[in-house]
Amino acid sequence: MSLEPIEGYLREGEQLDPAAHLVVRGWPLTADGILRNADATRRRYSWAGEPLVAVSAEVTIAGWDVDRILSGARLRTRRSYAAAAVGEVLDAGFGLLPTFSAPHYSVALGSTLWRRPSCSSECSVRYDRTPIT
């Protein structure tokens, strides 16, 4: 079995508020955790035919807030979390892919990073497949 294209698991038509929170809880809060998470994604999924290096996170899209995310069956087992504004994450050059079921997002890192337009009021969920050089 080869890498699974992540394109088959993208949600369409979702709007991102740049003020929304991107939340990561637990293990990935260390450099080792982030690298392990990103490496696992790289070993399983591809994006535009290349291994996808990305970290799993959740975002406060419509209908979700930080409390609801943190109280979910999975994340409530963690004691600590980190959150950042979506706009800051995008402006820092990370790619955000709305993957699997809401509110899950993949935060693309490293050589497979795709730059997205900076957003001042609203970020459309669309994909620019031009790799950063």
């Binding site: 637990g26 998470n37 696992a40 994604t41 799993s56 087992t77």
Partner: protein, 92 residues
């Protein structure tokens, strides 16, 4: 009290990482003893700092020769210990 260095995690996993099934997933090859990771088994997963209890939902083919393990997160270990003590199945 048990320290993280004394904790053996059966399967390293990250509760943030789900796939299209909605379950947490991990690679079977990351388990030190893969034989303990079988469908229906209750295992300690996560990491030594914050382990969690999970039920193995299934083990399916993954990329290359690896397998993907799907986990249903049950909670943190102390919840289970407390319940077992309450039921008299574990001495105080």
């Amino acid at each position: 009290m048990t320290t993280p260095g004394e904790i053996t995690v059966t399967l390293p996993a990250d509760v943030n990482q789900i796939d299209d099934t909605g379950y947490v997933w991990a690679f079977l090859s990351d388990a030190a003893e893969p034989g303990r990771v079988r469908p229906g088994a209750i295992i300690v997963a996560g990491d030594p700092v914050e382990p969690f209890l999970a039920r193995v939902v299934d083990v399916v083919d993954g990329p290359g020769d690896d397998s993907i393990v799907h986990l249903d997160v049950l909670g943190v270990p102390h919840q289970t210990i407390e319940e077992l003590r309450h039921a008299g199945l574990l001495s105080a």
